[in-house]
């Protein structure tokens, strides 16, 4: 069965394939009862998010005012959906999924194939004049005080304006887009992101910046293309390698490599030097961003499949699809980077608010060693801005099991064994920042005591653990489910 699941996972080429696979596993439902765009779609998405382990994807096909149009939310909204994407069965633990991803890191080759434009499903329907984004996209307000209608799960592809032929420097990233009328949208980014670099380069040189916005994509792209890899590394190659499966590319009308099987692709060009008001937007810490002036793009064409599915996300105060979408793939690079120096690190849980809180398990090499590892974590690429609160636990604690983490906090933490690092860099949208972009870091050492500490570890109860117990736990759950049938 495991092999079948892995094979099915590798054969996914599109959102449609994945929704079918999810549906067969009871992990996708169609919501055909009539709903209003606001507040119903949001309410249903939030209600689904409560079940982080088992929530299904939801496809709406009866939204008032959008006859014949479909919207999907929650495609990556639960650990069971992520498990199926990775070729693992429902009920796979978060820890197992973490090691599934960590094991693929840096250990696979990309398989890119090219589909002629005339045969690419994404180009089945083409709009080049009379463009109105609202004709194609059944949008809704994601959070109540968002400044407009947002595309929250769009993968944006662009070429370096100064090196148009370089495949590697082509960027694919998820950026929030706010519709600004029938044929325009704003894009929010920061100078350190690849897109921010390209926008600033285009405005500095006066060269045009053309982009392709992909909606309803191969589900591996959203998981793996959101990862900060090197500027000259292709996100497509990376996503293909991590999925262990081929990725089919074609060209957009404006010359950018896009996924051949996406539901909708919007081609657009930046209006050099122009800025319009953008925001607020309910962001991942669960608070609204401010209103700022952001670059605006004019749509030049739209391609879409027949009867396209508009995929969007609910993001806001956790737990949300955003946490499941990026959580493991936030954790795995930190783990890999720490292991280069410290093989004693056994797992990293940075699931919470994109790693604003991280839990790291480590075999203490000597007294105080966990703190050394914590400081190294703060200097990893993600740690520099995001890892605000770090909880260090021993290797006998599963950082993905919060009951075990609380046990470690309760029994192995001394109140004077914490470190506060004041006035450090912070993510600008962290609501606890002293000023946006600057705040304090906290390290809690919840590992056991070692010599030369005069007080050693107490004699611990050692309940049975390991794969046998994990399997028994799953068996009990399966028997319980069987008893209901």
């Amino acid at each position: 069965m495991m092999q079948d699941l892995a094979k099915q996972s590798r054969s996914i080429t599109s959102l449609r394939d994945f929704l079918e696979l999810l549906g067969d596993a009871g992990q996708a439902i169609t919501w055909s009862e009539r709903v209003m765009p606001e507040p119903d779609v949001r309410n249903i998405a939030v209600a689904a998010s409560r079940d982080a382990n088992g929530a299904p994807a939801i496809v709406f096909d009866n939204i008032a005012g959008y006859p014949g149009k479909r919207t999907a939310v929650g495609v990556h909204g639960s650990w069971d959906n992520i498990a199926l994407l990775l070729g693992r069965p429902k009920g796979t633990t978060i820890r197992e999924l973490f090691f599934e991803i960590a094991g693929r890191w840096g250990d696979a080759a990309a398989q890119i194939s090219t589909v002629p434009e005339a045969r690419a499903p994404v180009h089945e329907c083409r709009i080049e004049s009379g463009i109105n984004l609202y004709d194609v996209l059944p949008v809704y307000r994601i959070n109540e005080y968002d400044g407009g209608f947002y595309l929250g799960k769009a993968s944006v592809a662009s070429r370096d304006p100064e090196d148009l032929d370089n495949f590697g420097k082509q960027n694919v990233g998820i950026y929030r887009l706010q519709l600004q009328g029938p044929d325009s949208f704003t894009l929010m980014t920061i100078p350190s992101h690849d897109m921010g670099r390209q926008i600033m380069a285009a405005e500095r040189t006066g060269l045009p910046l053309k982009i392709a916005v992909m909606l309803g994509n191969h589900p591996g792209l959203a998981v793996f293309a959101a990862t900060p890899i090197g500027y000259e590394e292709s996100e497509y190659s990376y996503a293909s390698a991590m999925m262990g499966a081929p990725i089919r590319l074609t060209k957009s009308g404006n010359g950018i490599d896009i996924l051949a099987d996406s539901e909708i692709v919007i081609e657009a060009e930046m209006q050099l030097g122009e800025r319009v008001l953008e925001g607020p937007f309910g962001e991942f810490p669960g608070s609204y961003s401010g209103v700022r002036k952001a670059p605006i793009f004019k749509v030049t064409a739209i391609s879409h499949r027949k009867n396209p599915i508009f995929e969007n996300i609910y993001i806001g105060r956790g737990w949300t699809e955003h946490d499941t979408l990026i959580g493991l793939h936030t954790s795995a690079p930190i783990y890999a980077q720490l292991r280069q120096n410290f093989p004693e690190v056994t797992a990293v849980n940075a699931l919470y608010q994109h790693g604003l809180t991280g839990i790291i398990s480590v075999k203490n090499r000597m007294a105080g060693f966990a703190k050394t590892v914590a400081l190294r974590a703060l200097s990893t690429p993600h740690g520099v801005m995001y890892l605000k609160n770090l909880i260090m636990v021993d290797a006998d604690v599963d950082p993905f099991d919060l009951n075990q983490v609380m046990w470690a906090l309760s029994t192995r933490t001394r109140a004077d064994d914490i470190i506060v690092l004041p006035n450090m860099p912070a993510v600008p949208i962290d609501p606890s920042a002293v000023v946006p972009g600057k705040g304090h870091r906290l390290i809690i050492d919840a590992t056991s005591y070692l010599p030369p500490d005069p007080v050693g570890e107490a004699h611990l109860v050692t309940p049975p653990t390991g794969p046998d117990i994990d399997e028994l736990s799953k068996k009990i759950r399966a028997m319980q489910l069987g008893a209901l049938q």
Binding site: G65, G148, F149, I199
Partner: protein, 74 residues
């Protein structure tokens, strides 16, 4: 200039960008404010679009648009 008033910055002149229709009948209209760039659908709850009901915390001061920072400055 339209008389539709923006629920966020209270200026007039909002544009109608799109009408959701069913069987030829208009179900709702999406409006956009050219002053503060707020977009809304006229079928949304009053808590989001009701003038005087919507939270004042999210108002935009149309007389003072310079206060909003421009991102990605050279």
């Amino acid at each position: 200039m339209s008389k539709t008033v923006c629920p966020r910055c209270a200026t007039g002149g909002a544009l109608a960008d799109y009408q959701g229709k069913e069987g030829g009948k208009v179900v709702w209209t999406i409006h956009r404010c050219p002053t503060c760039c707020f977009s809304w659908r006229d079928s949304e709850p009053d808590s989001a679009i009701g003038i005087g009901i919507r939270s004042a915390h999210f108002a935009v001061d149309a007389a003072n648009l310079d206060r909003y920072v421009k991102i990605l400055q050279q």
